[in-house]
């Protein structure tokens, strides 16, 4: 019996070591601010990471969606518009792969922001979602003030991919955000291999606390 316990313990130990060495972590992007605080009388410097600031939009069901709906969840953000004739159909086809992979996990969301709120009203977004076959609450198509969406895009989501070129918001980026609202990855949403990588990285983030 004792031998059996030792054997099981050994196997568990080896398994723990193996999974520990295989654990991958994703980089954290964005600005970092060092913060010095006093802990137990000693000065300790900590790092504050850039996070996505509070926001409030409306989804395809007419429900208000704010940053609070994403607390403790990981999500993918992108920018599109329903009448987009060039890259958006490819992007949304690829995003469907992400949706199908994670639609049963309530802690994973997709946020697609329209950059043409003049025409992409809530009913138009609902119709678009229906045509894509989106159901439930894992993929939200978001409507809001154009200035608010651009502000978030330019100052937060897309800073990581800013290569000095013009037209970032219409380049088809998928941005991966973690449970603490930090950017953890950016992927070209028109390239299937990058979308595959996004899905793999989302599985890694799912395991993070």
């Amino acid at each position: 019996m004792r031998k059996l316990i030792w054997a099981i313990s050994g196997i568990l130990f080896l398994a723990a070591c193996k999974s520990g060495s295989d654990t991958k972590t994703l980089p954290i992007f964005g600005e970092r601010t060092p913060v010095t605080k006093t802990v137990d009388g000693k000065q300790v410097t900590d790092t504050l990471y850039q996070t996505i600031p509070p926001f409030k939009f409306v989804n395809q069901y007419g429900d208000t969606i704010s940053n609070k709906n994403l607390d403790g969840k990981i999500y993918v953000a992108d920018f599109f518009f329903t009448s987009c004739p060039s890259i958006c159909p490819t992007m949304q086809r690829n995003m469907l792969l992400v949706y199908n992979e994670f639609k049963n996990d309530p802690n994973v969301k997709i946020l697609s922001h329209t950059i043409d709120p003049k025409h992409d009203t809530v009913p138009v977004l609902k119709d678009y979602a229906d045509k894509l076959g989106i159901e439930g609450n894992s993929w939200w198509l978001l409507y809001g003030q154009k200035e608010d969406i651009y502000q978030l895009a330019e100052k937060h989501y897309l800073t990581r991919v800013n290569d000095g070129k013009d037209g970032l918001i219409h380049e088809g980026w998928f941005l991966l955000v973690d449970k603490q609202k930090r950017i953890r990855g950016s992927y070209d949403g028109t390239v299937p291999d990058q979308v595959k990588q996004l899905i793999a990285d989302m599985h890694i983030l799912q395991l993070e606390k």
Partner: protein
């Protein structure tokens, strides 16, 4: 006959691609316009303390909005489905769209440049 038909379709696709490529370029100009609009709107909120000409800032902001609306309307009305039309009509349609998208681009570039010049004066 078949070759002629294939060539006609090739020609239509090439012109359509040219228009859609223009659209992607104009989207980048639209983004610049929106960035300037955000800057202007921030300035307008602080107009009194910054002592800037609020009326000019408002006019420039409206001009940017009008150009952005023109882009939005053009995209909404663009029809990718030309089925049932003959070759000449399809070519005519895409030529017209090319002219229209370039007009929209001119509006965006002009409004962006004007607003950029104004913003620059406030930074002195």
């Amino acid at each position: 006959m078949l070759t002629g038909c294939a060539n006609a379709q090739k020609e239509e696709k090439a012109l359509q691609k040219e228009v859609l490529d223009s659209h992607d370029k104009v989207m980048a100009d639209d983004e610049k316009a929106m960035i300037n609009k955000m800057k202007l709107d921030t300035l307008i909120k602080k107009a009194d303390s910054l002592k800037i000409n609020k009326q000019t800032a408002n006019q420039l902001s409206s001009k940017l909005t009008a150009a952005d609306d023109a882009m939005s309307d053009w995209m909404k009305n663009l029809n990718l489905d030309n089925s049932g039309k003959n070759h000449d009509d399809i070519m005519k349609y895409w030529r017209e769209q090319h002219v229209k998208v370039k007009q929209v681009d001119s509006l965006l570039v002009a409004a962006t440049n004007e607003s950029a010049a104004f913003i620059k004066t406030t930074q002195k």
